[in-house]
Symmetry: C2
Subunit: 184 residues, 2 copies
Amino acid sequence: MPKISDQAKARRRAQIIADARRCFARYGYEGATLPQLEKATGLTRGGIFHYFEDKQALFVAAAAASAERLQQIWENAGLSGLLEALGAEDPAWIAVQLEASIRARTDRSLQRALQDHTEAQRAQAPQRLERLRPHVRDDIPVEQIAMFLTALVNGLALRRATGDALPDPATLNELITSAVGPRR
Amino acid sequence: MPKISDQAKARRRAQIIADARRCFARYGYEGATLPQLEKATGLTRGGIFHYFEDKQALFVAAAAASAERLQQIWENAGLSGLLEALGAEDPAWIAVQLEASIRARTDRSLQRALQDHTEAQRAQAPQRLERLRPHVRDDIPVEQIAMFLTALVNGLALRRATGDALPDPATLNELITSAVGPRR
């Protein structure tokens, strides 16, 4: 029954990611050691490395899973759903992801690994832009609007990570709609 | 002639900050060692510590000088001037400042030092909000608009730090004006 075995493997993989994510959030990317990751996942390093090549691969998989989840929420629940999800996200986990994306400037290996994951995301960008298009004004290229919204969401995420207050949801919604909503 | 001596001291202080800033940008906050800072400033550590208590104080002074400069540009040249200045800023220096603000989550001493500098900035916030008020819509509290704009600017800064493209200036200006400009 290879299908069940594959399912079990996928479940185990998802569980490792969830446990590792908490560990990275708590200790930081650099600070999370193999013994801590073993403790967090309840597996030996051999058990972990059966699923992920190394700590870096595990981190990138966790970051990719988060990005994918937020992307899905954005598509299914709109920008207000995404902002709500962002408000519910663990600030420590947001912080460690931002920290890693900045660290990648000077850490070539992490840079390559994150790039591969970004490339995979980027491959889906054209379809995503098409899905965004009907919800936004048509006098500005949708790519420009996507860049604007991504910058804004990342800036709000940074505020979460550093413990600063966010604008209240209704106001944020009004400002974003004024900026990018279809012209009346 | 104490006046000249004070001027000379202020010039020397500004020069140390400028040199240290390049050093932090190159090696990161953690990575910039005292020998590197000595080399970058052309001073002994004794010479540096005559002006700044320690490496952390030097970094915070450099970050404060940057924040003050950008704040001045925002007030004198408006948001488009600020965005232009952001586009001309060294991405490595932006990166190390974001890195430090995230690191402050878990580094209590850095947190306190950055907070003191933020408090000093914050003391001027009421006047700054008053100066922003005439330029933005009046149906939303100006504090909320300031939070929104700060998040957006930080998100754009993050894109600069990670090497991602920014929306083109005219588009950005149109989107921001639509979001927060006075209602017609």
